[in-house]
């Protein structure tokens, strides 16, 4: 989707600001809010792509107004309410109104390291034939899906060259919508600054892209 998260190429956000001592957390609220995001992730109620899609489905103005950890927090609430794990009234009042729906697990503190170690990377075996090879010239598809995709807007309909082949990985466009992992070949594709931005430099951007995002360039 063309959501508020897809920021590559935007102008208007000003300079990249550095803080003097760059604290990881700016307020005790942040690590606590993020720990809750991670803890609820451990209930196994959603996969990583569904969680990403929840963030980008936040209303655009809410996303842009929020700090990073607020954005994660609001996306968590969106998921909890959509899945019926909590009601809006419970969230406002801080107490239970309806009994909890069952979840896959509730982690005890001592179980956390083992659960973390079991969470899978995204590479999966697949029988899909490999469509592209290093050096192949490709063109990204011009798509504007309503759902989740990891093809950024700034790189749609652009010509590039395959520079690395990564094997077959879970396709986020499927996995974010409960229709399976649908593993596909994943490539790093290099795009020149000229092709992306019309800038005559030797610089380039490399993007990891799944085969369904690409077509062969004749």
């Amino acid at each position: 989707m063309n959501g508020p998260h897809d920021m590559g190429g935007f102008t208007g956000f000003g300079p990249v600001l550095h803080e003097y001592d760059e604290p990881v957390w700016h307020d005790g609220w942040e690590p606590r809010a993020f720990a809750l995001v991670l803890a609820m992730g451990m209930t196994g109620s959603w996969n990583i792509d569904e969680a990403r899609h929840a963030r980008e489905r936040l209303p655009a103005m809410q996303y842009w107004r929020s700090s990073y950890y607020e954005m994660r927090h609001f996306a968590l609430i969106l998921q909890l309410i959509e899945l019926g794990l909590i009601t809006a009234m419970e969230e406002e009042q801080g107490r239970m109104a309806v009994p909890a729906k069952p979840v896959k697990r509730v982690a005890k503190a001592e179980m956390i390291p083992a659960i973390l170690a079991s969470g899978g990377p995204a590479d999966r075996p697949s029988k899909q034939p490999q469509g592209f090879f290093v050096g192949d010239k490709v063109c990204t598809r011009t798509i504007n899906p309503c759902g989740h995709t990891r093809l950024p807007r700034y790189a749609r309909g652009k010509e590039g060259e395959v520079v690395t082949v990564h094997g077959t990985h879970v396709l986020p466009d499927s996995n974010a919508h409960g229709v399976g992992e649908n593993p596909q070949w994943l490539y790093t594709v290099r795009f020149t600054a000229m092709d992306l931005w019309g800038k005559d430099t030797k610089d380039a951007v490399c993007i990891d892209l799944w085969e369904p995002y690409l077509e062969a360039l004749a």
Partner: protein, 193 residues
């Protein structure tokens, strides 16, 4: 991106945790443990990997061939972590890592990303005008050096292997690790002696 969070968000979090606790979906002990795990993460492992790669050709070869195995050899816990790609800087090529879509970052090796890495300014500009962004970090890359910006769109994480600075001949691995900054491993800095 505003920080710190608004007062409304502060109050909301405590109510949310209270509601989820009474429903048995989370506990204070679990939140405390999660917080402790995130607080332990730091760029130290990444810096040690770079220093080892600078001094040990076998380790360098392993790092370039299998980043995850090289991280594990250094004691990092990589079970369940995404694959790790290593981007080697050379006099002709400088790498820079960004996640335009959110905040993908090699947390297992570098800890939690700094605020600027997740900022809209960095996410929007790094792909479009990397040299201007690097200049804001005080880094001026020679025009003859190509810049390769890596947008982390998949479950691959990227670590930049900075160039070893001249004048560090004979330094111990520990001394070398001390000059490998987090920014040098993202590409918004370089290692200097």
């Amino acid at each position: 991106m505003a920080a710190p969070p608004s007062g409304a968000s502060l109050a909301l979090l405590d109510k949310l945790i209270a509601a989820l606790s009474t429903k048995g979906l989370v506990s204070e002990a679990e939140i405390t443990e999660r917080q402790a795990i995130t607080d332990r993460a730091s760029p130290e492992i990444g810096a040690r990997m770079v220093a080892r790669a600078w001094t040990d050709p076998d380790y360098y070869a392993l790092l370039m061939r299998d980043g995850k195995a090289a991280a594990e050899a250094m004691g990092a816990s990589m079970a369940g972590a995404p694959e790790l790609g290593v981007l080697e800087n050379t006099p002709s090529q400088h790498h820079l890592v960004v996640c335009t879509l959110c905040s993908c970052y090699p947390r297992a090796l570098l800890g939690y990303p700094p605020g600027w890495y997740k900022s809209f300014a960095y996410r929007s500009r790094a792909v479009r005008e990397p040299r201007a962004v690097l200049a804001e970090f005080g880094l001026h890359i020679d025009e003859k050096t190509r810049i390769r910006v890596h947008d982390s769109t998949a479950d691959m994480r990227y670590l930049v292997l900075p160039m070893r600075p001249v004048g560090t001949e004979g330094w111990s691995e520990e001394q070398l690790a001390g000059i490998v900054t987090r920014n040098a491993m993202i590409g918004t800095g370089i290692a200097t002696a």
